[in-house]
Symmetry: C2
Subunit: 337 residues, 2 copies
């Protein structure tokens, strides 16, 4: 009847994902987290649900998994709080919603959807966005929810040990650790007295893009932002056109990486613009955008789908946590190149 | 030697600018405000200065003029404060800086430039952005600076009388006034007891785009945001790609209008994308973007220049405060179609 084909792609962040730092157990946990999220969204598409519901369900699962920097796994700000950003775009209705700096919201992607559906605005930030969350009665979570997790502590301690060992080899009081294209200062306190809060929690972004039976496209992205961020920095995740974009006529896109470069490139919209104005295919457009990002120094990647069920997931970093499902391509869960 | 030609365009906002509401005296003040800003930037370009310095100087003048909704003329938020947004982009270095929700900063565009030049970030918002302002020692201004002004009061009272008269004709306790594509609730208090603070201050955005002798392009945009805004709404002004964009290879763009639609369209970048991917001329690209905005319901306009000194200033609203100067076209100051 129709040439529309359902497709779903998700990501859990891109960056310097080193095999040497990855244990078999941890890799298996990442894969399991991606699988749970993929299945949540795919089930909805298979049952004739909307792409909006599918990307929301997938991102909610990624937000609920402590391994990814979004929702439960959100990184800590300077004052040890979690401030999260999220955005969603509906490629059929040409509507979008986003939040920046929300605290104690269990699933920021749900709040972004409420901005899209219940307000005439697109981006709400800070105290105002938190007030909106209370007014909408979205599920809240205490500070502890975003922190305590046995498996998570294991990951933290592993990383900490690695960096402190390195630290012994230098005179510098601080060590720079590069993750996801960012340089982070890591304290050289002894492991046993380490304050595990600000500097070294999981990094990245999560996102999902989907095409449903009706050919409607949707994109969703969520992040815990930058660890120890200062000065109220906002990255690309809550920015429509930079971190997230969806338009039925072209594609749905969700980005992850060094946000500033994605903002300069208007990366998510750039994929759509190449398809619209240059007649590039989804794959060509997505790859050209990621190549351009590499050229300007922007490490990261993106996932994209079109209404024909094509999927692209290019990245210029060492790895990107990603998974996809489509009628043609089956299910894939990947981390490295 | 070179085909580069200097050019400068500025705007002071677009929207429902009704001749019937405009007195000869007020129109003359608007024209005078635009002229001052245009000359400030043009002088820099003529003297061989950079497009960055030119757009900054022009926007500073517009921010200092109480008639426009930016800097001194910034509208009031819910709690009677002024929260301002601004952004700047350097088309040569491919860098950008922006601030959202800054308070008591005399010239937010200067702060946006400091974000571009002194940090690795692009967008700083809220308390963090204010902390950055203090650290950079930018000129601050007390709350009163953003309010008291004899001429400004005249404008306010004129508008108030108009709206209160209308109000008498309705049973509704509130009147909806539409300015710049937004609907605003206006209090029906008696003129003599009117609280002139939140609802009815000047609306819009200011901006400037320039091309200098070297063919370097720059764009700058600044706004006082939405009157009586709630929930921490961020519009297109501080969003690179939506309200502001500059790339030497294509154009420099500054937008004004109903911000949400400019965000959905990634309007400023869309002009560049049409030039880059579709080989449209500056004029064709700028007009196509504004036509598209009209099609999706986005009232407003934009100004754009390229490195050959071409200028475009299309809008789909009733008027746009605008002015331009170029070697070929001389000086123009316009308000209506």
């Amino acid at each position: 009847m129709s040439e529309n084909k359902i497709a779903l792609a998700i990501h859990g962040g891109a960056g310097t994902i080193l095999k040497s730092r990855m244990t078999a157990e941890l890799e298996s946990e990442y894969r399991s987290g991606l699988k749970t999220a993929l299945e949540a969204g795919w089930k909805i598409l298979l049952n004739g649900g909307t792409s909006l519901d599918a990307v929301e369900a997938a991102v909610v699962e990624l937000e609920n998994c402590a391994l990814f920097n979004a929702g439960k796994g959100a990184v800590f700000t300077h004052d040890g709080k979690n401030e999260m950003d999220a955005s969603m775009m509906d490629g059929a209705a040409h509507k979008a919603g986003a939040v920046a700096f929300v605290r104690n919201v269990k699933n920021p992607i749900r709040l972004a959807r409420l901005v899209m559906e219940r307000t005439e605005h697109i981006l709400l930030a800070g105290d105002g966005a938190n007030e909106f969350a209370r007014e909408m009665n979205v599920e809240s979570a205490a500070d502890e929810y975003f922190f305590t997790d046995f498996r998570y502590q294991q990951l933290l301690e592993a990383r900490t040990r690695g960096t402190v060992q390195l630290d012994h080899a230098t005179d510098e009081p601080q060590l720079i650790e590069e993750i996801a294209g960012f340089k982070f200062q890591v304290s050289n306190e002894k492991p046993e007295t380490l304050n595990l809060k600000p500097e070294i929690k999981n990094l990245g972004t999560v996102g999902a893009v989907a095409s449903d039976w009706r050919g409607n496209l949707a994109a969703a992205t969520s992040t815990g932002g930058m660890t120890n961020k200062k000065f109220g920095r906002i990255g690309d995740t809550p920015i429509v056109g930079a971190g997230t974009y969806a338009d039925n006529r072209t594609c749905a896109v969700s980005c992850t990486g060094h946000g500033e470069f994605f903002m300069l490139a208007a990366a998510a919209y750039d994929v759509a613009a190449r398809m619209k104005y240059k007649s590039s295919s989804l794959i060509e457009a997505a790859e050209a955008t990621v190549d351009y990002l590499r050229d300007i120094g922007g490490e990261g990647g993106l996932i994209a789908v079109d209404a024909s069920g094509n999927i692209a997931a290019p990245f210029n970093s060492e790895g990107m946590y990603r998974a996809s499902a489509s009628a043609d391509g089956g299910m894939k869960i990947e981390i490295y190149r």
